[in-house]
Amino acid sequence: MEEIKPDKTINIKGLVCPYTFVKSKLAIEDMEVGEVLEIILDYPEASRSIPKSMEDHGHKVLKVEKINDTDWIIVIRKERE
């Protein structure tokens, strides 16, 4: 599969819910429809809740990947304003 190049990356390591989602949502609000946001986080619960919340808000989850012992990468494509 072709590697997706994010238009914006945010590192929210150290943040817990709900601020993980709040920060992610603020980031995606400032992007254009079709652009891709990459989120780096270390709060386990958020690795499940962010993709779900982003889908609820109508965006597309392209990737959820645990990259090491503590961190995840989530990649979201903005689908609507």
Partner: protein, 268 residues
């Protein structure tokens, strides 16, 4: 304007809502709302607007706090008896949220100052306790095209309506003239149960937030009536009246007059 870290925390429950988000929060912070009256209704309306981060709140009230106000006017407190309500509410709201700038106007609103006062605001909230003021505020908002969220309470009943000049009804479409003095008793005469202004003021605050955010359906052409004893809400349709003296097709009220005098004449 970007939200700072403290604002992101403070407003996180707003930001999470798809209908609000960071963009909606910025609209709230940029909004300017004036409250007519810092009493039973003005207290909860202002309290919730301040909490929500409505950036500029004007308060016009020339009254001072009395002990008998404190059973319902929740922005004031016992230590502040004798203080101007506008000053007390400013203190309370700014302590709740330092993002909010409260402008306290210790004057009685009248035909001579109302246009000058409301021109700086996006939305007017009427929480006044008397008919001359209610009609003055209605006419001034219709004539200057300002959205008005009007609330009223008595005993166990309250009502709320949102007046969007040109788009919908106004207060005079519903009640063309004030009732004769004495027909409708005041809170002072008839009483009001403590939590009632909280409910009606909360509804008014919600109408204001919806208008600022451009979300939902305002109470346009509708009057929402709450009966506390029955715990029931009812929504009554109020069509725009083509013969309304202020917002109708051939208005007879084209400028403000002396509302106190008009009201007192009815008594004679």
């Amino acid at each position: 304007m970007e939200l700072n870290d403290e604002q992101i925390l403070r407003y996180s429950r707003h930001i999470i809502l798809p209908e609000v988000g960071g963009k909606g929060q910025k609209k709230l912070l940029a909004a300017r709302v004036i409250l007519v009256g810092a009493g039973g209704l003005g207290c909860p309306v202002g309290y919730y607007l301040a909490a929500a981060g409505v950036g500029t709140i004007g308060l016009i009230d020339n009254d001072t706090i009395e002990l008998s106000n404190l059973q319902r006017q929740i922005a004031h407190n016992t230590e502040r008896v004798g203080m101007y309500k506008a000053d007390s509410a400013k203190k309370t709201f700014e302590a709740l949220n330092p993002d909010v700038h409260v402008i306290a106007i210790k004057e009685r609103i009248s035909k001579d100052n109302i246009f000058d006062i409301i021109k700086d605001y996006d939305i007017v909230v009427d929480g006044s306790d008397n008919f001359p003021t209610r009609y003055l505020v209605n006419d001034a908002c219709v004539l200057s095209g300002k959205p008005l969220v009007s609330g009223a309470i008595l005993r166990f009943e309250g009502q709320v309506t949102t007046i969007l000049p040109k788009e919908g009804h106004c207060y005079r479409c519903l009640f063309e003239e004030p009732p004769p003095p004495g027909l409708v008793p005041s809170c002072q005469e008839a009483g009001v149960l403590g939590a009632l202004p909280g409910i009606i003021g909360g509804l008014q605050a919600m109408e204001v937030l919806k208008l600022i955010l451009g979300r939902g359906e305002p109470l346009k052409n509708r009057l929402l009536i709450y009966d506390a004893l029955k715990a029931s809400f009812r929504k009554v349709r109020i069509p725009k009246n083509p013969a309304c003296p202020v917002c109708g097709e051939n208005p007879t009220i084209t400028e403000l007059h002396d509302y106190e005098a008009e009201y007192c004449q009815i008594r004679l």
